[in-house]
Symmetry: C2
Subunit: 135 residues, 2 copies
């Protein structure tokens, strides 16, 4: 998150990570690219968690500045942009996977979605390879 | 983070996790308990990342409400409280470890601290056992 005081000034690698993706929304946008094959601003704006478009625009700009996301013109529609994960962004896969497993363990509500955690528990290496690919 | 609209309403396990610890500060407070053996409000208030005491108080209350942190009277000083991680909080260890490894890989500044990542890379299982213990 862009702020005056950067957590990473401490030198801590955890603080460094939190500066890059440690807010309520960044990992949800990364989830859409990593697990759901989404690429456009409209795709991200449509997530079930109801992200405000000004916050989404801010987070995409921040993730691009941090080298997590690459923004390109859509080759099929030059007036549109598409977003994808850089190698640095794809390397977040193990973090997202661990959060999914933790959430799966502790969210016992009937509406909890188990599709991703079931796939991870069945074959974690295959799921990580999928997450790192252009899915 | 406490807000009107909860991310977890979507049912996504990642969103569930972000509701519990997905803000700039919660994982730094958890880091102090998990890796650095810290237990008191004063300990957490003294972290290098300069957390405001009102934010710290809010985050501790939130983490306690979410069952991540247990607050008890200090047996050695009944006027003071000590904080520790619950089993649910200790289960965050793999998430913190993955963030440390990612931060270590991408933070190339000379001031980046390598002590934790060096220990993880030398013996990850031993480090995770340490993180889950009363260190």
């Amino acid at each position: 998150m862009p702020t005056a005081q950067k957590l990473r000034d401490s030198g801590c690698p955890l603080a460094f990570g939190l500066d890059v993706f440690g807010d309520r929304w960044s990992l949800l946008v990364i989830r859409e690219m990593m697990f759901n094959g989404k690429t456009t601003f409209g795709d991200f704006a449509a997530i079930d968690e109801k992200i405000a478009t000004n916050i989404l625009a801010d987070r995409l700009k921040h993730l691009e500045a941090e080298g997590i996301v690459v923004k390109r013109r859509d080759p099929e529609n030059r007036r549109r942009f598409v977003y994808s994960l850089s190698p640095k962004g794809r390397d977040l896969a193990p973090i997202l996977i661990e959060i999914v497993l933790w959430g799966d363990k502790y969210d016992r509500r009937p509406q909890a979605l188990r599709a991703a955690s079931d796939r991870i528990k069945a074959d974690r290496a295959a799921f990580e390879a999928f997450a790192r690919s252009d899915n």
